[in-house]
Assembly symmetry: C2
Homo-oligomer: 195 residues x 2
DNA sequence: CAGACACCAGCACGGTCGTGCTAATGTCGG
DNA sequence: CCGACATTAGCACGACCGTGCTGGTGTCTG
C-alpha cells in the first residue's frame, strides 16, 4: 500500500508548487498530470474531485508551515527569544523558499476572500490558529518582560502587516531591501511594546 | 462617437467589479458579456484581445484610486494633516467600497507576482508611484515637524503593511475591528517617527 | 436624405476544462 | 506462483474558453 500513497504525495507536492505561482484555482489537472508524468484520469482517480485535491494541497501547506515555522519556535524557551524566532522563521518562510514563490497563504487569502466553500473555511481556520500562536508567544514575552497593559491583538495586527508587505515588496516589486526593512519594522514594534 | 465609448466604459466598469472578486484572469468574456447584456463577440469587438481589456480595467482602477485617494489628499496643506488624510483615504478605499470587494491592487499583486507581461508591468509601475506619493507626503510632514534623520523608505514600508493587513483581516477574516487596529497602528507609526 | 462607418449579433473554430467509465497493468499477501 | 485488489491509461462527454469572420443594424456626417 505504499506505491499509491507515494504518488499521491508527489502529486500534492507538485500541486503545491504550482499553486504558489498560479493559485489553487489556477492549477489544472491536465498540466499537473504531465508534470508528474501521469495521465489526467490516472491522477484524477486519487482524488474524487478537484476540490478534494485543493484541500489536500492546503493541508500539506499547513503541515509544512507548522513544522518549518511554528514548531521550532515553540521549542525555544518562552519569552522574547521565542518571539524573535517566530518572526525570523516567518520571514524565512516568505523569502527563503528554494522554489521562488513566497507564502502561499497570502496568495490564497486574496484568491478566496470572496469565494465561499470548504477551502476558504479551512484557510480562515488556519489563519486564526496562526494568529493565536503569535498572540500567545507575544503575551508570554510581555509577561516575562514585566510589561503590563499589553495589547496582544494589536501586536498581532502589526506583526502580520510586516509580513504581508514583505511578501508584497519581495515578490511583486522585487525589492532586495525587503528583509532588512521587515526586521527594522519588527524592532520598532518590539521596542514600542517594551518586549 | 459617444455610443461606443459609453458601452465600452460600462464594460470596463463591470469588469472591474468582477475582477475585484475573481481577479483579472478570472473575468470571463462570456460572463462579462451577459452581465452587460451584450453578445460575447459584440463585447470582444471593443478590445482586440483579453489582455487589452485587462489593461483597460487596470487603468480604470488606477484612475479611480488617483481621484479617490491621492488627489484629495494632495489638495490639503503640506504636513501631518496631508499625511493623515492620505492614510485615512487609503483605509476607506480598502474598506468602504459600496460593492463589497476591497482593494483590487492588493489582489492583483498576488495574482501577477509570478505572471510576467504588460499587466504586471503596469501594476508594478503604479505601485511604485503610490509608494513615491507616500514617501513625499511623509517627507513633507517630517520636514514640517522639524524631524531629522527621517527614514522615509522605512516609513513607506510600515505604512503599507498596515494597509495590507487591513485588507487581510477585513476581507478574509471578516474582523470588524480592522479599521480601529489600522488607525491605532498608524498612530504608533507616526509617534515613532515624531510626525 | 443618402452614403459611410461604427457598432454589435450569429455562428463557427480549435482547445482545454473537470469528470466519468472501462479495461489493462501493476503490486502484494497467501 | 496466483489470485485479489490497488493503480493507472484510454477514451469520451458536455461545457466553456478566447478568438475570428460575416453580415445586419443603427448612427452620425456631408
Amino acid at each position: 500500500m505504499s506505491k499509491g500513497s507515494d504518488t499521491k504525495q508527489s502529486i500534492v507536492d507538485e500541486a503545491l508548487n504550482q499553486a504558489r505561482r498560479v493559485g489553487l484555482e489556477g492549477v489544472t489537472l491536465g498540466e499537473l498530470a504531465t508534470s508528474v508524468q501521469l495521465s489526467k484520469s490516472g491522477l484524477f482517480a486519487h482524488f474524487k474531485s478537484k476540490e478534494a485535491l485543493q484541500l489536500a494541497v492546503l493541508e500539506e501547506a499547513i503541515d509544512q508551515f507548522t513544522s518549518d515555522v511554528i514548531a521550532p519556535s515553540l521549542s525555544l524557551p518562552r519569552g522574547s527569544e521565542r518571539l524573535q524566532s517566530l518572526f525570523e522563521r516567518y520571514v524565512s518562510w516568505i523569502t527563503d523558499k528554494p522554489w521562488d514563490a513566497g507564502c502561499i497563504f497570502i496568495s490564497l487569502s486574496q484568491e478566496y476572500d470572496d469565494r465561499p466553500g470548504p477551502v476558504r473555511d479551512r484557510l480562515v481556520e488556519s489563519e486564526n490558529q496562526f494568529q493565536d500562536v503569535i498572540r500567545r508567544v507575544a503575551q508570554g514575552a510581555a509577561e516575562r518582560a514585566g510589561v503590563d497593559s499589553f495589547d496582544a491583538d494589536q501586536f498581532v495586527y502589526e506583526f502580520k502587516g510586516i509580513g504581508l508587505n514583505l511578501q508584497h515588496v519581495h515578490r511583486l516589486l522585487r525589492d532586495p531591501k525587503g528583509c532588512e526593512r521587515a526586521h527594522k519594522a519588527f524592532a520598532h514594534l518590539r521596542a514600542h511594546n517594551g518586549i
